[in-house]
């Protein structure tokens, strides 16, 4: 292990990799600090660049970008009461109320410090959990992978925000999109309508750029909002009293980071859900919970730790099983597949140095978050002053060129546009788009493993339920679907008895 760590550190410290991490960090801070632009959009627009990079800088760019963007979302939340990314929404009211009391520096200082601590704890959990799970997953066959993917898809629907029916529609759309092209059993072209470009299937990258980049442009040109900055001065005394705040809430930070990691591991649930759940848990446990929402520092400390910790958690299923923990890791899996690297337990045997390099990058990115985050806070006025009238056309242009760059094909630009319109229309009606992404990524895994299994056993479907790990995973999927259904029926019964 020692030689892997040394090899990984020297790999990460190569000037080219360091420069990539630095550029991606600045990019993440910029995008995260602009309300309306999400970390997922930033990741989707980063993909065309990662396409031309080696695996390590590609992964390092995504790690650094997401760590910075999730923190940077706190900046406009505190200064203009608009979360830069959905992950900062849970504690926006507290942040803004404290800013109005003249404590913008303290709020953002807590944001950057606790994000870094949460991110580091998340990285430690990733380092500890991933190899253990990978060892366990070595015995998995197509049956287990089938159920694992089903569990991932189920979790994406059940855990994602909004109605479950809408989540299922979104998921089915993603899965159906994944069936376009040559099928794996007979090589039969499905839903291609004689179009040669469709025989290879819908390319994941333009689809992502459309769903997260172009739909964001649509949303922003529709809901243009003037930013009202709560304070005219740049936040000062950012780290004043920080040690005592961290000491006071140390158990809260630890608890929230663990919650963040666990939620991050669940497919479909990312940093934003981690922040909301942590907020609710902290409110219930805190003696001052009744003051939350009016300008209290505790929910900020805990939720901002959780959302950055969730990032490390989301990488666990992505690296170990190839099942994305959130939309960003879904994009990551797409990037790795493009590079011929299939995430899964084998990668821990075949590419140990690369994996250790990812852990080191997580650590480095979260350490870098403190100085770079400090600079972003100091220059927040300048970042928030960038007009979207100038920015949005270039996001669109990057989306077009990024989609084109993958295959040098205008067909992919068309795919991007269609997916952008689709994502916009669905989200405008409360249909989550994250399940579409998971459907596109996991669809081939579900189908391939199912078909391999049934052909192997001559269609003896009992094999799916009689293998011990398979049975446990199947039970997990049943419980995941059963619990919300049971709660719904119980609620309905109690409301009927009340009205009766």
């Amino acid at each position: 292990m020692y030689e892997y760590v040394v090899g990984a550190i020297s790999l990460v410290l190569e000037p080219r990799n360091l420069l990539t991490i630095l550029v991606a960090s600045v990019y993440g801070l910029f995008v995260g600090a602009i309300p309306g632009l999400t970390a997922t959009m930033a990741a989707a627009l980063l993909v065309p660049f990662t396409f031309f990079m080696e695996p390590l800088p590609a992964m390092a760019a995504i790690v650094a970008m997401e760590a910075m963007a999730i923190f940077a979302g706190d900046i406009p939340a505190a200064l203009v009461r608009m979360p830069g990314t959905p992950s900062s929404a849970a504690y926006t009211d507290d942040s803004y109320a404290l800013t109005k009391q003249g404590k913008a520096g303290q709020v953002l200082g807590v944001g950057v410090t606790c994000s870094a601590i949460g991110g580091l704890l998340g990285a430690i959990c990733l380092m500890m959990a991933a190899p253990l799970l990978a060892e366990f997953a070595m015995s998995f066959t197509s049956f287990e992978y089938f159920w694992l993917a089903v569990l991932g898809l189920s979790s994406a629907v059940v855990v994602s925000s909004g109605s479950m029916v809408k989540g299922v529609i979104s998921l089915m759309l993603g899965l159906l999109i994944s069936t376009i092209g040559i099928d794996i059993t007979l090589g039969y072209p499905r839903f291609t309508f004689g179009n040669v470009e469709l025989t290879g299937g819908i390319n994941f990258i333009p689809a992502m750029i459309g769903l997260f980049g172009v739909s964001e442009v649509f949303r922003n040109v529709l809901h243009s909002q003037e930013l009202q900055v709560a304070t005219s001065e740049a936040p000062r005394r950012i780290f004043a009293g920080m040690a005592s705040i961290v000491r006071r809430f140390k158990m809260g930070i630890l608890r929230s980071s663990i919650i963040g990691v666990v939620i991050g591991i669940l497919p479909g649930a990312g940093a934003d859900i981690a922040a909301w759940v942590t907020y609710a848990v902290t409110k219930n446990l805190s003696p001052e919970g009744h003051k939350f929402g009016q300008g209290h520092i505790e929910p900020i400390v805990c939720s901002t730790s959780a959302n950055n910790a969730a990032l490390g958690g989301a990488w666990v299923p992505a690296l170990v099983f190839g099942i994305p923990g959130d939309s960003i890791t879904a994009i990551l899996i797409g990037v790795l597949m493009m590079k011929g690297l299939r995430p899964g337990p084998m990668i821990f045997e075949q590419q140990p140095v690369l994996l250790y390099a990812v852990y080191v990058t997580f650590m480095l990115a979260n350490l870098l978050l403190v100085p770079l985050g400090y600079l972003a806070i100091r220059f927040s006025g300048m970042i928030l002053g960038v007009s979207k009238n100038y920015l949005l056309p270039f996001i669109l242009l990057f989306s077009i060129v990024g989609s084109f760059a993958i295959n040098n094909s205008l067909f992919d630009v068309g795919v991007m546009l269609v997916m952008g319109v689709l994502g916009f229309l669905l989200e405008a009606n409360g249909v989550p788009v994250a399940p579409i992404v998971l459907g596109i990524v996991l669809g081939p895994i579900v189908e391939q493993n199912f078909m391999i299994s049934v052909i192997k056993t001559h269609w003896n479907l009992w094999e799916f339920f009689t293998r011990p790990v398979s049975a446990v995973l199947c039970l997990g999927a049943v419980l995941m679907w059963g619990y919300p259904l049971f709660s719904y029926l119980r609620k309905r019964k109690s409301s009927l008895s009340t009205s009766g």
């Binding site: 029916v165 809408k166 039969y188 040109v221 949005l392 205008l410």
Partner: protein, 152 residues
């Protein structure tokens, strides 16, 4: 009742039926078991059921939610969306002929003006950023962006 949700439910149902019908023409495995059509068939059945469920959910909510559904956006903001769609279509249609630089400057500048940016500042920024994007993709990443008339 939300019209948008009803439409999504309806489209999901129709799409599911369409997919199911298409899959009926897919071949079976040599041993007679279901083949390429199996997975999309299962998906289309689930999608049809959820599409109907979404319609049912909305109809059962009745008239209660029709009010208060009004969006703050005006006609102008919705037209902005059409401009964005038009910009992408325009790029797809003319970039091969006019080349990346001219097309990109054109669409980004027009979109900026549409969104309320200053004319000269918008043009200067457009030219600068497009040249940077061209250098980045074409020179650094070796993506063959179309040169069009500028290549002759």
């Amino acid at each position: 009742m939300r019209i948008g949700e009803l439409v999504i439910g309806g489209v999901a149902f129709v799409l599911a039926v369409f997919v199911f019908v298409l899959t009926l023409g897919f071949p079976q495995l040599p041993d007679g078991h279901p083949g390429p059509g199996l997975f999309p068939q299962l998906l289309s059945i689930i999608m049809a059921i959820t599409g109907l469920a979404l319609i049912g959910q909305n109809l059962s909510k009745g008239e209660r939610r029709i009010r208060g559904e009004g969006k703050a956006e005006g006609r102008e903001e919705w037209v902005n969306i059409l401009w964005v769609v038009g910009a992408v279509l325009c790029y797809m249609l003319i970039s091969e002929i006019a080349g990346f630089i001219l097309t990109a400057v054109g669409i980004s500048w027009v979109l900026m003006l549409r969104l309320g940016a200053a004319r000269l500042k918008g043009l200067v920024i457009s030219v600068g950023v497009v040249l940077f994007i061209y250098w980045l993709f074409s020179q650094a990443l070796l993506v063959p962006l179309p040169l069009g008339v500028m290549g002759h």
